[in-house]
């Protein structure tokens, strides 16, 4: 195996934080692809630019996604990375593993790939970093086959203009604040939409992320076209003794809690903490800080926000409220129906490479709400429109006229 001098990358083996260079070298010690990857990355460091190129679409039979084709621009210098595709493997909900399955995954990665992975990709997948075109089918077969008794059975994740691999915070598995079963939701929804994941039929990508509460530990609002964020409807229960406990531990309840409550609905007189639950917007600040003392109660569910996307073309969008509250319980029928309705509308109104958030902007929220059968309510917006540029449908005016007729009859104004 060729030995590359890597003076620049060697620098990055030093220092306290774990080193990706050590990882590549560890793999390179026994894998020729990893070795040429090392060489090419060093060459990038030396010359200050990237040497991967666009390439033809590659994949496995019957799927349109899950693989990112990648080719070196310098195949003469680094022949083993002439093909260096990634395989996106759909992680289990919440990224929980047993050592058994991990070992099996690693074996496949070593056998067919470069021995390097990303744990995890930014969307959530397990990424096998680098393999050749001809290895794709074998990898796929080893991942999916149920022929032999074994632990591992994985499928590919999404890529291209498809539903992308959904992901979820660890939620009820290890967190006291989950308002719905993020993991189960993520799992069942992923299974429901296998076709949408594997066979790109959308006009652009679409992402789901499931967070159990407003902490949004899976960054759903900033990274998913559909962000499902747990919330509740009842009052916050208060254990006054525990409040004292926090105070004793050094918390300045007035500064840290009362004054930081965005709705100014908490008061504390040194004895009793009170919350005006009607005015609380459930931001979770007090609950997370007084975590031994406060907890939500009552009906549980999720707020569904739509539309996030990265900056290109029209600038970053973050998801916005579409369904203020939906119960989210297996089999998640309402949610699945919503997804289908959204996609139908999106499909009908979009051009290629337009994400759903963009299309909502282009068409206006009304068209979208009408398509999914949701009435407008003020919870959907931070504030109403400011310019007097107002569209009406004839039926809107008709409704106004009806109300006005009734007002004339009754002499009472209807607001």
């Amino acid at each position: 195996m060729k030995k590359y001098e890597t003076p620049l990358l060697d620098e990055l083996e030093k220092g306290p934080f774990p080193s990706f260079v050590k990882e590549i070298k560890k793999a390179a010690a026994k894998n020729i692809m990893a070795n040429d990857e090392l060489g090419q990355v060093e060459y990038s460091y030396k010359t200050n630019r990237v040497y991967w190129k666009h390439g033809g679409i590659v994949g496995v039979l019957g799927y349109g996604g899950g693989i990112i084709g990648r080719y070196s621009m310098l195949p003469e210098m680094f022949p083993e990375v002439k093909f260096f595709h990634t395989v996106r493997v759909n992680q289990p909900s919440g990224w929980f593993y047993t050592t058994e399955v991990l070992r099996e995954l690693m074996d496949i990665c070593d056998k067919y790939g470069s021995g390097i992975c990303n744990f995890h990709g930014s969307t959530g997948d397990i990424i096998f970093l680098g393999t050749t075109t001809e290895n794709l089918e074998p990898i796929f077969a080893e991942l999916t086959s149920h022929e032999k008794p074994r632990h591992l059975r994985f499928d590919l994740g999404g890529s291209g203009s498809a539903l992308r691999t959904p992901s979820a915070c660890n939620g009820p598995a290890r967190c006291e604040w989950a308002n719905y079963d993020t993991l189960e939701a993520c799992h069942q929804i992923t299974h429901e939409f296998q076709d949408e994941i594997h066979r790109p039929a959308f006009n652009y990508k679409f992402k789901f992320k499931f967070a159990g509460c407003a902490c949004d530990c899976v960054a759903s609002i900033a990274r998913a076209d559909c962000s499902v964020i747990g919330t509740w409807k009842g009052p916050i229960l208060i254990d006054q003794d525990a409040v004292k406990w926090h105070e004793k531990k050094g918390m300045d309840i007035d500064r840290e809690i009362v004054r930081m409550c965005p709705t100014e609905c908490i008061s504390y007189d040194g004895k009793e903490l009170k919350i005006d639950n009607d005015e609380c917007n459930r931001c979770m600040h007090c609950i997370t800080r007084l975590h031994k003392a406060l907890k939500p109660s009552g009906e549980r569910g999720a707020t569904i926000c739509i539309g996030n996307k990265a900056p290109i073309v029209i600038g970053t969008i973050i998801s916005h409220v579409i369904i203020p509250f939906m119960k989210l319980e297996p089999p998640f029928t309402e949610f699945k129906e919503l997804a289908r309705k959204m996609w139908d509308w999106w499909d009908e109104h979009s051009k290629p490479r337009e994400r759903i958030g963009e299309v909502i902007e282009f068409q206006g929220m009304r068209s979208f709400l009408e398509a999914i059968g949701v009435e407008p309510i003020p919870q959907m917006i931070k504030e109403p429109r400011r310019d007097p540029f107002i569209f009406f449908k004839d039926e809107d005016i008709a409704r106004v006229k009806e109300v006005e007729e009734e007002e004339k009859r009754t002499g009472k104004i209807i607001f």
């Binding site: 990358l9 990055l12 934080f17 260079v21 050590k22 990882e23 560890k26 630019r49 990237v50 040497y51 991967w52 190129k53 019957g62 919440g94 990224w95 593993y97 047993t98 058994e100 399955v101 991990l102 070992r103 074996d107 070593d110 390097i116 992975c117 744990f119 930014s122 089918e137 077969a141 080893e142 999916t144 086959s145 022929e147 059975r153 994985f154 499928d155 915070c169 660890n170 598995a173 290890r174 993991l183 799992h187 992923t190 296998q194 594997h198 902490c215 530990c217 960054a219 990274r223 500064r255 931001c283 979770m284 990265a310 900056p311 290109i312 073309v313 029209i314 600038g315 973050i318 490479r353």
Partner: protein
């Protein structure tokens, strides 16, 4: 290795064995017994140190979590090493976090000390829990993506070496989330991070007209441009770019490889700050540009790192407890941030895209 040992499957075999649309495995099969038992019944948690927390269930059962950093890009053998440890102390159970850390899930209190000791001995870095810097969300960079205007992994390593004690020990006013995106596609979704690096080009792409005609569609190329800088160039059966309108986003390249935005001298990094994802206290915030361009200086990007560290130290010193970076800056005002930090304010910080109007200051009320 694999189910078929070392032997690679033939195409023929693969065809027979493969199955489609099976979806991911059921996560419940991977949960530790104590989690299965107390699923959805957790009562509270305590953060015991930067790398250790314990969750207690209504039943009184507990699960300890030990979190360690990874570079995300990881060799199979390192995963195996983690497996060895998990076998020894966690009955074979472990997980990854949404920020690329490994969490060892310990059900037996007696094993909590020993696993930490062993992790330390093996050189794993424990930390990231609580009011600290956790791992850095980042993307492929020169390691794998065709579009990268800088490397991501190397930047992360350089930053975190300098900031490691904020991962392992030191506390900050609140969590601090870092991210790196290696091009304006922003796969790292840096736009809502406390502090992030986004790699940018600063030259107008060069067009290979022959290639364009052959492999790309002209309408698609034109439509790709956010600023409408691209127009038809019928003479060459290609397109041309109006230089003044191009802001080097590289989307034309994403859509069509005949555009070449790369420039070894003029690719580099911008720094944005003040984003946040969650809605605690204040709504989700966008990160905002403070440093528009720093030349790539691999392997250590010293200036990028220095500025980030400088900002973090200012934050540590000036922010109130529980304030995120953006909440702090919003409270004191961006003009005060620039004064405090000494960072040069440039034309580039002034928005000139769609939403500029709402970023201009419509008031005589600002700080000197």
């Amino acid at each position: 290795m694999g189910f078929y040992g070392d032997r690679k499957l033939t195409a023929e075999e693969a065809k027979k064995l493969r199955e489609t649309d099976i979806g991911p495995p059921y996560f419940r099969d991977f949960l530790p017994p104590v989690i299965k038992k107390n699923y959805g019944q957790w009562k509270e948690h305590d953060i015991l140190s930067a790398g250790l927390m314990v969750h207690t269930a209504e039943s009184g059962d507990k699960i300890w979590t030990i979190r360690v950093a990874t570079p995300r890009l990881i060799a199979t053998d390192t995963v195996r090493e983690a497996c060895d440890i998990a076998d020894k102390y966690c009955d074979g159970h472990l997980r990854w976090t949404s920020r690329n850390n490994i969490e060892f899930l310990v059900s037996d209190e007696k094993k909590v000390e020993p696993i930490q000791k062993e992790l330390k001995e093996r050189g794993f870095l424990m930390g990231g829990i609580g009011y600290r810097i956790s791992n850095v969300v980042h993307t492929q960079g020169w390691v794998h993506c065709h579009g990268a205007a800088t490397d991501a992994s190397g930047l992360v390593k350089s930053m975190m070496d300098e900031l490691a004690e904020y991962f392992t020990t030191k506390e900050l006013p609140n969590k601090l989330r870092l991210a790196v995106a290696c091009c304006p596609n922003m796969c790292g979704a840096v736009h809502c991070s406390d502090i992030a690096v986004v790699a940018i080009h600063t030259t107008v792409p060069i067009i290979d007209h022959d290639k364009l005609g052959k492999i790309c569609e002209i309408p698609t190329s034109i439509a790709s441009c956010p600023t409408k800088a691209i127009s038809p160039y019928p003479e060459k059966k290609s397109v041309k770019i109006k230089d003044e309108k191009c802001m080097y986003c590289g989307n034309c390249f994403t859509v069509c490889p005949a555009f070449d935005p790369f420039d070894t001298e003029r690719d580099g990094c911008a720094i944005v700050i003040g984003g946040k994802v969650n809605c605690l206290r204040t709504n989700t915030k966008f990160a905002r540009l403070v440093v528009p361009f720093i030349s790539n200086r691999p392997p250590r990007w010293p200036k990028v790192v220095a500025i980030i560290k400088h900002i973090i130290e200012l934050y540590a010193k000036h922010a109130r407890k529980h304030e995120r970076v953006g909440e702090w800056v919003d409270r004191i005002g961006w003009e005060r941030f620039f004064k405090l930090s000494g960072i040069t304010f440039t034309y580039q910080c002034i928005d000139d895209f769609t939403f500029m109007r709402d970023t201009f200051r419509n008031a005589s009320t600002f700080k000197w």
